[in-house]
């Protein structure tokens, strides 16, 4: 039955990820695409003539179906991963109901998966970034993401270990302080990447990055709320709203 619960949570996580992905897609299309178009305009007005290539996928497809594919697959994939993380976290991180656990996990994931790597290696619009350094930039970005996620998990484990001795408040503060300290050291020692063209508009870069952040906030907030609701209904059905279901166990 426990394995079935994990499966049910996983399916709900992926569905919640899809729903959150749809919300994020809306934000990406409305807020993000105008900056992408402006950045491509900048690229075309500055690129030497010989770099113009034949378009494999047209701009109108990239900004609609292509964008949707990417954002939705991202939502479903992270929804699944977050649901599995939720299975580990449930009842182990403190006295939180499923709904609260889901939102806490989602907020932590937003920080660890996106915001922390973003602070060191922020999202870049087209025309920012040298094609020759893509290997190095990709390695650094995924390294930062991995480090941040592993450290967040470590911080939770440290906090849990200390909770008995220090109490929940100081254990949590210590866990967070540990995370901030190690991430700070990583920020200081990992190499910086600065490949913004000299005359690239600063306001466009800011707008692009804010829209990238808005996409992630929407995705993770949406996921936390939707998945939390689904998990709550699965794990602790309210007897008041479903009196008939009180006697019968939830079917699997």
């Amino acid at each position: 039955m426990n394995s079935a619960t994990v499966r049910n949570l996983l399916v709900r996580g992926m569905l919640a990820g899809l729903a959150a992905g749809l919300l994020a897609l809306l934000v990406a299309y409305v807020l993000g695409e105008p900056s992408v178009d402006d950045a491509i305009g900048f690229e075309q007005s500055h690129a030497p003539a010989h770099t113009h290539e034949v378009e494999a996928v047209s701009r109108s497809l990239q900004s609609t179906a292509g964008l949707a594919t990417g954002v939705l697959v991202y939502g479903v994939a992270f929804g699944g991963i977050a649901a599995l993380a939720f299975c580990f976290a449930l009842g182990r991180v403190g006295r939180f109901a499923p709904r609260a656990t889901a939102l806490l996990l989602s907020g932590t994931a937003l920080l660890a998966v996106y915001v922390v790597p973003f602070l060191k290696y922020p999202a870049n619009p087209p025309s920012v970034g040298d094609a020759d350094t893509i290997d190095r930039r990709t390695t650094l970005y995924f390294l930062m993401m991995l480090l941040s996620v592993l450290l967040a998990v470590a911080a939770v484990i440290v906090g849990r270990r200390l909770a008995g001795r220090l109490g929940h408040w100081y254990a949590t503060v210590t866990g967070v302080a540990f995370f901030v300290l190690v991430i700070g050291v990583a920020f200081a020692f990992l190499p910086a990447v600065n490949e913004v063209p000299k005359d690239f508009p600063a306001t466009l870069l800011w707008r692009f990055r804010m829209s990238a952040l808005a996409i992630q906030v929407t995705l993770w907030a949406g996921f936390g709320l939707v998945f939390g609701e689904l998990a709550q209904r699965l794990l602790s059905p309210r007897p008041a709203t479903a009196p008939a279901a009180r006697a019968t166990p939830v079917p699997h």
């Binding site: 426990n2 991963i81 970034g129 059905p237």
Partner: protein, 73 residues
């Protein structure tokens, strides 16, 4: 799941029992890897590394890759 049902007389949320690690691990390993493969195709394929030849995967998810914060070209 009957053990998770809240007592009808109390309004406090019932705290869910933990799921045993043994029950989670098989799902986590299999689906964890599957999800990471999906993320790889959205985030990095035909960028730094390439499993499928050509540019089509990269070009198709181009906008998503930029807006989701992955290093693109």
């Amino acid at each position: 799941m009957a053990q998770h049902v809240a007592q009808p007389t109390t309004d406090a949320p019932a705290l869910p029992a933990t799921l045993p690690i043994r029950a989670i691990v098989p799902w986590a390993v299999f689906f964890g890897i599957l999800m990471l493969v999906l993320l790889y195709f959205v985030g990095a394929e035909q960028g730094a590394t390439s499993l499928v030849s050509g540019e089509n995967v990269h070009e198709w998810v181009h906008d998503a890759r930029h807006l989701l914060g992955f290093p693109c070209h």
